[in-house]
Amino acid sequence: MPEQPLPGEPPADPSGSDGTLESRVARLESVEEIRQLVARYALALDGRDVATLVSLFVPDVEVHDGRTGREALAEWFDPVLRPYRTTFHLLGNHVIDFVDDDHARGALYCRPEHEVDDLWIVMPLVYDDRYERRDGHWYFKSRRPHAFYAADVRESPLEVEGRFHFPGNPFMTRATMPERFPTWETFWA
């Protein structure tokens, strides 16, 4: 999946394509379904329910290793979900911007905790999401987490190198937020 900027510009399509009652109600339904989508992802991940997890993505999902499809995604998830035991994905702020009736982008804050051997790693992050509607239902087109930091509950994020202490994580390897917000760099320049 290509690296894409976080949502920044105003929504292209704020309230439904043609402004009719039908399309306004449909837009509200889309928002609800997307909110359910991200909550189901958190529950499925914490429950290590890989079958449910991959069912939340479009059938032709592009996997991080270059392959395509839910089966490939399930194979990719397996080793990614094993380096830690208990996880707790507490979701918060969710910005949803519609591109059109069938495409939306999301910025979702999450404060996951991970049991990593004798460490308890907290990794506040923003998911950079793409959602797509297929046959009347919403799925993840892509999802990329970007961490503010990763640190044990007993550590200050400033004490750990690069604000990132998460041994053995094959997927998340560094803290890129808030520097990844284009406006962050502009502000300090």
């Binding site: 529950l43 429950g47 290590r48 979900l81 208990t86 507490l90 308890w120």
Partner: protein
């Protein structure tokens, strides 16, 4: 679904989401009448005592509700899973952190949604402030506010994943 039924469903999502938020606020406020009012009338009498008891041994609580999955069985019945991060002053000295999962049933009566029964309260963990929850003895909540909980270990998908 007709347009009216679709709007009805959207209203149901809103009300059910609010139930979880109101529960958090009313519990933190110790508004027991407000709290009981969130439940279907027939369970309120039996619930009052069960709700009050665990609150007797804690002082300040801060319930931060997050992740919420809602599944509808029909127009009047739904189930849900709610995550909550709780901060709790459980004695004069102890400030603890809990990761909580609520297993809910919701029911609609005369257009209003309620909790249909006591919420199934399970811990991921409870731990003193600044203490890592790794390997703590079982909390057996409500016996103890700190310790290892019952989820995710109880979930079938969890057992299946680690068994393969």
């Amino acid at each position: 679904m007709t347009l009216a039924e679709r709007i009805d469903r959207l209203d149901a999502y809103r009300q059910i989401r609010e139930l979880a938020a109101r529960y958090g606020r009313d519990l933190d406020a110790r508004d027991m009448d407000g709290l009981l009012d969130l439940y279907v009338p027939e369970v309120r009498d039996t619930l009052r005592e069960a709700l009050v008891l665990p609150l007797r041994r804690v002082h300040i609580t801060v319930l931060h509700v997050g992740t919420h999955v809602i599944d509808f069985q029909d127009a009047d019945n739904a189930t849900g899973s709610v995550y909550c991060h709780g901060e709790i002053q459980n004695t004069e000295e102890n400030w603890i952190s809990q990761a909580i999962h609520y297993g809910d049933r919701y029911a609609r009566r005369d257009g209003r949604w309620y909790f249909a029964r006591a919420r199934r309260h399970e811990l991921f963990y409870g731990a003193d402030h600044g203490v890592a929850p790794n390997g703590l003895p079982l909390a057996d909540w409500p016996t103890h506010d700190t310790g290892t909980g019952t989820v995710p270990m109880r979930w079938e998908s969890w057992q299946e994943f680690w068994g393969r």
